[in-house]
Symmetry: C2
């Protein structure tokens, strides 16, 4: 068997090439499908992605969301009903024909997002305050005609969740925004160990049709940020054109207040690869590793093989009660197996050879720290339990340290431009003017205002760091994907 | 709160109307979406469907299948590459535009089935016998321009699994066909208690592009059958045009042998509703019930409420370790709750009132038999465990008895026509001629040859029961959905 090739690019030197190689070599995606911008999701990415979905779905259902599935296609007339939202049209793929050249009368959009599909039904489903809050979500692919694509970062077909909620009052809707942000933090930081920065986007960078947009950014190793999800206060901007009304306790008829929340499952996958991966490949936390523990038998004789395999199977069945465990009993050499499963990011490897069998211990390898230690058989269960926590803690510390090292608070224009050009997140006093934001973006070739810190009141004193007008607010800026 | 309305139609009298009402009242689908033939999947159906997916995915992965996800869109040129398969074109929805009226050069089909998407990649993925067998599946929606639609039975967008396997030899492929049939039986009969009849389809009823088609039919209460899944021996009919070659152990280059298997998740959902449901609504077996046990508190005073709720929560947390359990603590009356959860098919209801609290017992209601019994608190865990098995057994017996009562073996033309017209499955000697099959179909307004029994060798003696030519085989016929 030909030896598997490792990643040649270094994450710290050429992140872009490193990312491409990990996607290829860890069996995540194949970009050779013959429709531009559409990728084949390979087995390992699907297995990871379904664990990410499980985390979000469980968390969403705990806070009263219920799953539904709406049609892929949305009539053009729905997209047009809310004026700003119609701005999605340049991004849309249209179904216009069926069968042999038969024209479809009213052309159908492949969902770029599903507000306008959901809300016509909400106008049928909501009658009374008793029907509220209405909190539904779907886990689906969406379609946008992106000019430039990158697996899991930007695609013409990508995976996400969209939650569409309706409430009696604006206050309830704003509470939901907070709940959504907590949901994102709980999963992405809490379970995956990826630090996120949550911002209220500036008015010129809102979701089309939203009153306010709140979004989560992840800082990538190359100093650019990626938005991995957002939640929007829609106020009554959709409920009025879609006529979603309820009768309240006083028997008055009112329009509902709405929010929409989209955890970008694809981009969370990208952030997972980028944040924790290293020069050997993926590094996965326990929570979403499709295989959490890989047991590798090592033997050089048939006699050893029997004892070693017996121990491996015993460990597999004991640990299998609490973890996703596998024994790699393939024909590869132990070294090849190590290499392969390190590429795939399995958090813990247990090596079992003749020494381990005789000595009643195993050798435990941690993917995150690349360290080995001997653990007595009796202590193994405890040890693995401890590792499942420690590995995540270690990944969190590393990632948080990186983010902090790349977050700057320049006080003057010169330092500001240097920091923003240098990559990372720049915190600075800002005048609040779109015109100024545009100038900054031009001068730094892409440095953008990401917004104000969510849930904090950070006053800005003095002048805008760039234009010297009076400062209105403290904002965070970064180059973006 | 307005009392929920029950199903007015009787399953035994007007199955079609009964089915429509269950779909509506058990929160399964909303057919009012403004694109003809596309439905909104509501919460309860999505929750059941994901359990059905879980059963199939677990079973498929146990036999070496791995999940992938291929693009929704397939270029027209792919569909054309295998001549017979191109016959799918009249069923296809086409994406032809993007953005504001921009024409897409090569139009894209919404996948009606994904052979021609998968196999161009298989030609890149398969190099050597070491890459075989290659067994991949995806869980997705597919799109077909059906003229007439019915929720879960026939739709323009429907949910299924498609598994695409490649092998070194035709023998391996034929073994896979048997494994697929076992998979279908294990899940649909074994876990869901729905009897299936597996047939080798006649040559004129094969999948477009297949060498042989083997399909599973379920008999519906109205005497018509629904195909719920099929597996196909593709031989080398796709591997040659798609150039999927491997180098064997002798270093010879050969085309792979392929199978494709499609469990129709939607139709299995339809079969589940139709087979087990009754005049109160759905009846779900334990395996896929989103809630397996519903605990209903009954109290008429605040003092009772406290004790009753305490016991309910205690039961919820004890049973919750092994089952999907919920306490209905809503404001509805106990009667309304019973009615509601019977409609939704929850297999077991536990009633807890003041009597139960004082007496250290509970009242256990079985949805399948609509019977109640008192169970001592101490015996409850054992009792529920027993019920989880007994309910399935009871559903199986009922369904199998119905199928047998509706399967006839007429010996002459008169009885044959009477039986086929009367609904159900008719087993008869047949000449094997497509022409005769067509005449039967015309005369009976839809009676079709479903094929020969899979895996049995049923000789036919004498004459064709319809045309009196020499009999070639024993076939099964029925009217179909």
């Amino acid at each position: 068997m030909a030896e598997e090739q490792g990643i040649r690019a270094r994450k710290g030197e050429n992140f872009s090439e490193w990312y491409t190689q990990v996607v290829d070599k860890a069996d995540l995606a194949d970009t050779r499908y013959n429709v531009q911008g559409f990728i084949v999701h390979k087995t390992w990415s699907i297995k990871i992605i379904r664990e990410i979905y499980r985390l979000f779905e469980t968390a969403l259902e705990k806070t009263g969301h219920e799953p539904v599935l709406f049609p892929l296609v949305i009539p053009e007339e729905n997209l047009k009903r809310e004026g700003e939202h119609f701005g999605f049209v340049p991004d849309v793929f249209w179904v216009t024909e069926k069968g042999v050249g038969e024209r479809i009368e009213k052309k159908l959009a492949l969902r770029p997002t599903s507000e306008t599909g959901f809300y016509q039904m909400y106008s049928l489903w909501v009658r009374s305050y008793r029907d509220l809050p209405l909190k539904k979500y779907q886990s689906v692919s969406v379609y946008r005609n992106e000019p430039v694509t990158r697996p899991f970062i930007r695609g013409r077909e990508f995976l996400w969740i969209e939650a569409h909620d309706a409430f009696e009052t604006h206050e309830d809707a704003l509470k939901q925004v907070h709940e959504d942000v907590e949901n994102m933090k709980d999963v992405v930081w809490g379970e995956l160990g990826i630090p996120i920065s949550v911002f209220k986007r500036p008015p010129w960078d809102k979701f089309l049709g939203a009153e306010e947009t709140f979004a989560s950014d992840v800082l990538f190793p190359d100093g650019k940020v990626l938005q991995i999800g957002s939640t929007h206060d829609l106020a009554q901007k959709f409920s009025i054109p879609f006529n979603i009304k309820f009768v309240d306790k006083k028997e008055d008829s009112k329009f509902v207040w709405q929010t929409t929340y989209g955890p970008g499952i694809w981009r969370i996958m990208a952030a997972l690869i980028a944040t924790h991966g290293d020069d050997r490949g993926l590094v996965l936390p326990f929570s979403i590793a499709p295989i959490q523990i890989m047991i590798v038998p090592i033997f050089y004789s048939d006699k050893d093989k029997k004892d070693v395999m017996k121990k491996c199977r015993k460990l597999e069945s004991a640990l299998g009660k609490d973890y996703r465990v596998q024994v790699d009993d393939s024909d590869k050499t132990p070294g090849e197996k190590y290499h392969h499963w390190e590429m795939f990011g399995i958090p813990v490897r247990i090596e079992v050879g003749a020494k381990e069998t005789v000595g009643n211990f195993v050798t435990v390898y941690r993917r995150d720290s690349m360290t080995k230690e001997k653990v007595a058989d009796k202590a193994l269960a405890k040890s693995v339990e401890k590792l499942s926590v420690e590995i995540l803690e270690n990944l969190k510390i590393k990632a948080q340290t990186f983010l902090e090292s790349k977050t700057k608070s320049p006080k003057n224009r010169h330092d500001f431009l240097r920091d923003l050009n240098g990559g990372g997140i720049v915190r600075a006093a800002f005048c609040g003017r779109e015109e100024c934001a545009k100038e900054i973006q031009n001068e730094t070739r892409g440095g953008k205002v990401r917004g104000t810190a969510f849930g904090k009141h950070e006053k800005a004193l003095g002048k805008c760091v760039y234009c010297n007008h009076a400062a209105k607010e403290t904002v965070y800026m970064a180059k973006q994907y």
